[in-house]
């Protein structure tokens, strides 16, 4: 059965984030924050959660390899801010843990253990900076991601396949990306095809489409294209989405259109929750 390999240090999986940082990402979401800022914050929190979930007192365990790509203007960049040539664009989560750009101090409310609430200082690492520049070279961004996925699948043939979370707010300006997405979804390990999930971020309070099963009801050709680019949700991820209150029909795809801030958060959480081996839970 595909997507059943449990993730372990012997068989890590890959999570690749592909983020649109084109000029339109400067527009505000419902709530007022720029899309670019909000997405960067959610991505940083996701990386933080992934690292701390892999951590014990004595260190971080390598259950994931992580890649972050951004595209904007005429460029595809390493989201960790490194020069793109001369190193791999995907690295073990242990390396991610070692190299945040900075660590901020934030406060949050926490349970005091006796039913009360206290304000608690938290050290919060930042890896990914918000940016909103130029055009939308989606095809180039996804092509680079597909190259990473192909190489990773070759070197990890027994692992749970890579998951690619693509976040965008606009149409590609460097050509139709569908064939690249089709190719990427055909890349595979022994445990199944790579999973490409697409999230469209909306500045407006437009009608959300969440984990659609058919393209018939979608508003325009752009939405239908992103739907076709998206992988069906495997049963365990559909179950997670169901646990969060989403109605997920059999065959629903990892595709969200006109996402609100809460949907953006849920998309990242659901997409980055493959199963750890029982001995490591």
């Amino acid at each position: 059965m595909p997507y059943s390999t449990e993730i372990s240090r012997d068989h890590p999986t890959a999570l690749i984030f592909v983020i649109d940082q084109s000029e339109s990402m400067v527009e505000p979401l419902a709530g007022g924050r720029a899309k670019a800022e909000f997405v960067a914050d959610v991505l940083n929190k996701t990386l933080y959660t992934l690292v701390t979930n892999c951590s014990k007192a004595e260190g971080v365990r390598r259950y994931f390899d992580i890649g972050v790509l951004s595209y904007f203007g005429d460029s595809v960049a390493d989201g960790f801010g490194r020069a793109i040539n001369g190193h791999s664009l995907i690295c073990p989560i242990t390396d991610v843990a070692d190299a945040p750009l900075r660590v901020e101090e934030r406060t949050r409310k926490a349970d005091d253990g006796t039913g009360g609430v206290i304000e608690q200082k938290v050290k919060f690492p930042v890896w990914f900076e918000p940016k909103a520049v130029g055009r939308t070279p989606m095809r180039a961004g996804l092509t680079r991601a597909a190259e990473i996925v192909a190489e990773w699948c070759d070197t990890h043939p027994q692992s749970y396949p890579p998951t690619i979370l693509h976040v965008t707010d606009g149409e590609s300006t460097d050509g139709d990306p569908q064939d690249v997405a089709d190719t990427m979804r055909q890349l595979h390990t022994a445990d199944g095809n790579a999973l490409l999930f697409n999230l469209h971020v909306s500045a407006q309070g437009a009608q959300e489409v969440v984990f659609a099963r058919e393209e018939g009801g979608l508003a325009d050709e752009y939405a239908r294209m992103l739907f076709r680019m998206s992988s069906p949700l495997p049963p365990h991820l559909a179950g997670l989405a169901g646990d969060r209150g989403y109605s997920v029909a059999n065959g629903a795809r990892g595709f969200i259109f006109n996402a609100s801030p809460q949907l953006i958060v849920d998309f990242f959480e659901i997409g980055t929750r493959p199963r750890l081996i029982s001995a490591d839970r």
């Binding site: 014990k56 945040p100 349970d111 001995a279």
Partner: protein, 247 residues
């Protein structure tokens, strides 16, 4: 086996045998066990992916062996003991994040009052009641499939223990067995890998209990674990057995 009314008998001394094997050579064994000479035995299986589950498991079994009356105050005392082990503010961001998320462990406690054995089980560690080589009852799981669920575990993060308030502790986490009805009763406390193995093989001939009864030394237990892992029958996880044969 049905619930039995509280016994007025005195708490009985017993002397379980305890054996444990780590999931792999050289790795920390995050199972912990303890028994008191007053008839209390406790086993805890620390979840590997959490900050310091080995210490948390040790605290839980020590406290249960000292004081088997599990309630809110009991848990608060255990949390306080764990909090004293680490200075949160001085931890790196990675450690602090993992510390805040919590450490997780099961708790299985067994005590004997005359012919009555009381079991507290939170999580996926299993108590097994045997009559000679027959498995008479298991708690809290009865089928192998139940081990595939995500278990409810005690956490050092108080918000993760909210499930305790949402459930009926007596109904969901405890059982009492009347061993006076059995000809040759024994009680085993085992962590999840061995619990899964026993329940999966409970109707086999020869009985899996007969094989476990023959394990008299740590080395023999380690050989058994290695053999069953190699055969693909025992999950690769920390594996612990506390056995009170002929109790």
């Amino acid at each position: 086996m049905s619930d039995v009314p509280p016994s007025s008998g005195k708490q009985e001394a017993w002397h379980p045998q305890g054996f444990s094997a780590p999931k792999a050579d050289g790795q920390t064994n995050e199972d912990a066990w303890q028994f008191s000479h007053k008839g209390v035995a406790a086993l805890s299986d620390g979840a590997s992916i959490s900050f310091d589950s080995a210490s948390w498991a040790r605290i839980l079994v020590r406290q249960y062996a000292r004081d088997p009356c599990f309630d809110d105050a009991w848990l608060a005392a255990a949390l306080q003991e764990f909090a004293a082990l680490h200075d949160r503010e001085s931890l790196s961001w990675v450690q602090q994040g993992a510390f805040d998320r919590g450490s997780f462990a099961s708790l299985l406690g067994v005590r004997r009052w005359g012919a009555r054995v009381e079991v507290l089980a939170i999580g996926d560690s299993i108590a097994v009641l045997c009559d000679a080589d027959r498995v008479a009852a298991t708690f809290p799981y009865e089928s192998p499939e139940q081990f595939d669920q995500r278990p409810l575990l005690l956490s050092t993060n108080p918000t993760q223990n909210a499930f305790l308030a949402e459930r009926d502790a007596k109904r969901d986490f405890t059982v009492a067995w009347d061993i006076g009805l059995l000809a040759d009763p024994s009680v085993l406390c085992v962590s999840d890998a061995l619990g899964h193995w026993i329940i999966s093989h409970r109707n086999d001939e020869p009985s899996p209990i007969a094989g476990l009864r023959d394990l008299k030394t740590r080395r023999a237990f380690a050989r058994f674990v290695a053999h069953e892992r190699a055969a693909g029958d025992l999950r690769r996880d920390d594996t612990t057995m506390l056995a009170c044969w002929g109790c």
